[in-house]
């Protein structure tokens, strides 16, 4: 196990270095940092100072090393668009996106687990068929269309929920949260639902297929023979066996959640990382784009590493199989 874990760790680090190098190549080859960062009335001395500060006069290997060293220390460069440090821009936007992602994960589990269990236990019921039909819609409908439809129905037609922004936020010093005010909670509902539709549909289908298989296995039959209640059998004994694929899939879907968060944040004017990324693309703000690229890669790699390393905790049989 240890050898396996360290092997995976080395692999992850290697891939992260490669991704950072690609990000570095993007910043160093695209766009003109001097033209973007210097003002019109700057002198030749300013120019020389800027070249020095950005290490533009050094060979490419040295520049990559200082870029990479900066990454490790949280120095992400300077945005061409706002002339502020990229790290500061990201830190400002991070809470909004993390809260949105967590809220959508919460909705995913809240809706998909009971729905998936129902479809797995009673695959032929009318409700199960309706849920499966809905899940096809969830996979097929483009994310922004879902968002527009939610706004059209719940904000414009019914006027129940706000269609844009985060509502009132509370500053906790290190974190600006919208989850502590009524308007903030109301504001997060629609974007979280829009972001979760795809995941909900996938998890329902996964739990259903898994449960239909698990339902035939010996331990479920024994549980039934012992006279346990149906709820206990399915939610405690059978559902545990579906955890592994569900967790794996949620980890692999992380990239999609991030991509869809860009779309969702745009539809709902949510002031998070996705909006920042989109504004940076529109402005061809290469430092922010490449840092975003690197951060997403890092998050994806690290979370999936944890997911894989947590397999033995979720299902001890994995370890025995490997031995």
């Amino acid at each position: 196990m240890l050898a396996y874990a360290s092997g995976r760790l080395v692999q992850t680090v290697l891939v992260l270095v490669i991704i950072s190098f690609i990000g570095f190549l993007l910043v160093s080859n695209l766009g003109d940092p001097l033209a973007s960062l210097l003002t019109a009335d700057s002198t030749a001395a300013d120019r020389a100072a800027m070249i020095k500060a950005l290490h533009l006069d050094e060979p490419i290997t040295t520049r990559f090393l200082s870029f990479f060293g900066g990454l490790l220390q949280g120095d992400f460069g300077i945005s061409y668009r706002s002339h502020e440090p990229v790290a500061k821009l990201i830190a400002e936007r991070l809470p909004a996106t993390v809260e949105l992602a967590l809220a959508s994960l919460f909705i995913t589990l809240l809706v998909a687990v009971p729905a998936g269990v129902h479809c797995g236990v009673h695959p032929r019921s009318a409700l199960a068929k309706a849920i499966m039909f809905g899940s096809i819609a969830g996979v097929t409908l483009p994310n922004f269309v879902v968002g527009i439809a939610l706004i059209g129905i719940f904000s414009v037609k019914l006027g129940w929920l706000p269609s844009f922004g985060r509502g009132q936020v509370v500053d906790l010093g290190f974190w600006r949260t919208g989850l502590l005010t009524a308007s903030g909670l109301k504001a997060i509902i629609l974007p979280a639902i829009a972001l979760s539709t795809f995941q909900v549909a996938l998890v329902i289908r996964l739990i259903r297929t898994q449960l239909m298989e698990v339902g035939l296995s010996d331990h479920v039959r024994f549980a039934r023979a012992r006279g346990l209640t149906d709820n206990r059998i399915w939610y405690v004994y059978a559902l545990r066996n579906t955890l592994l694929p569900v967790v794996t899939m949620l980890g692999l879907q992380l990239g999609n959640i991030i991509a869809f968060s860009v779309v969702t944040e745009n539809v709902f004017a949510w002031p998070g990382l996705g909006s920042l990324f989109l504004q940076s693309i529109q402005a061809a703000d290469m430092p922010v784009i490449s840092i975003y690229l690197i951060l997403i890669g890092a998050m994806f790699m690290v979370i999936n590493l944890f997911v894989e390393l947590s397999y033995p905790l979720i299902d001890p049989r994995v370890l025995r199989r490997k031995a």
């Binding site: 695209l30 097929t140 269309v145 527009i148 991509a259 989109l278 693309i281 061809a284």
Partner: protein, 312 residues
């Protein structure tokens, strides 16, 4: 499927015949095919006769915000209503779907070309070439295609500067979507090539002294195309959604050009004020077309490749 020939049948029926047979047993996919073809015909035929609604000379702002014809204030001239510029929504939809289809088809072709070439090379060459190509594919898989297309689009903007004409903008969208999807094709083709390259017919071609390129293109490629074409069909739907999403976000097709994405983006501005038809029609058209392509693609997968049946 009842259309699968019995083992006693000596000759394999042609693909067209099998398709036709399959259509009888599968009304859903047949309906999807008909809807898809009708919509495509609508997209390519209407623009031949109707004036371009995105040409300012052909529209009048006086007609702006006309609702669909069955509503009060509706007009028979504009069956589906008009948008903020007085564009006829019906013809705008045709022009928009045409752009989306062209972008979708072209980007699938680029993905096929890049992925096909790399997949064939990886599978046939093996060794370090194979490892290199497939590791790059693995890294790319960490990024969803939509995000990758956005990043490529941003990089292209940065490289070309902000002054780009419409044609360049469309080309960037096509390339960024196409490149974002190459991995799937490459992986599928590579795995098929790994099976095919040890077959007797390849050995026979080698003995006759054909070059490696000749063997790959003339002998192996035709044998590995079926599963790839099925993926390409399904990816057409994904590519069209990706184009619509990029354009909706304002980083795809420019707003001056009709596409499903730009139409929805424009319509979204008027959703709050009650002019729902400007956004709803292009959304509905997008969903109708993508669903019909997906149903058809899923079905083709079963017809052409029974081994993949049941997998998603």
């Amino acid at each position: 499927m009842s259309a699968v020939p019995s083992p006693a049948t000596p000759a394999r029926p042609s693909a067209v015949l099998r398709l036709f047979e399959a259509a009888k047993g599968a009304p859903g996919p047949t309906l999807a095919a008909i809807v898809g073809i009708l919509l495509a015909a609508f997209a390519f035929i209407v623009p031949l006769f109707a004036p371009d609604p995105f040409n300012l000379a052909s529209t009048s702002v006086m007609d702006a915000f006309t609702p669909p014809m069955w509503m009060a204030d509706g007009s028979k001239v504009f069956p589906l209503g008009t948008d903020d510029q007085g564009r006829n929504m019906l013809t705008a939809l045709a022009f928009g779907l045409r752009t989306s289809l062209i972008v979708g088809l072209a980007s699938v072709a680029i993905g096929l070309l890049v992925g096909g070439a790399l997949g064939l090379t990886a599978g046939f060459a093996g060794g370090w070439v194979d490892s290199l190509i497939m590791r790059v594919a693995d890294v790319q898989l960490a990024y969803p295609a939509l995000l990758l297309a956005m990043i490529i689009d941003g990089a292209a903007r940065s490289a070309l500067g902000q002054q780009r004409d419409v044609k360049t903008a469309i080309a960037i969208v096509i390339i960024s979507i196409g490149v974002a999807f190459w991995v799937q094709y490459a992986r599928t083709i590579r795995s098929s090539v790994l099976v095919e390259r040890d077959q007797d017919y390849v050995a026979a071609a080698r003995v006759t002294g054909r070059s490696a390129l000749g063997i790959v293109v003339l002998h192996i490629l035709p044998n590995v195309m079926a599963p790839v074409l099925v993926i390409a069909t399904i990816n057409l739907g994904v590519a069209i959604i990706t184009e619509a999403t990029l354009s909706f976000l304002g980083i795809g097709i420019p707003l001056t050009q009709p596409s499903l994405g730009t139409l929805i983006r424009n319509g979204n501005n008027f959703l709050q004020s009650g002019e729902w038809w400007i956004a709803v029609w292009p959304c509905a058209l997008l969903i109708a077309f993508v669903v019909s392509v997906n149903v058809l693609g899923d079905h083709l997968r079963d017809v052409f490749n029974p081994r993949l049946r049941g997998r998603s």
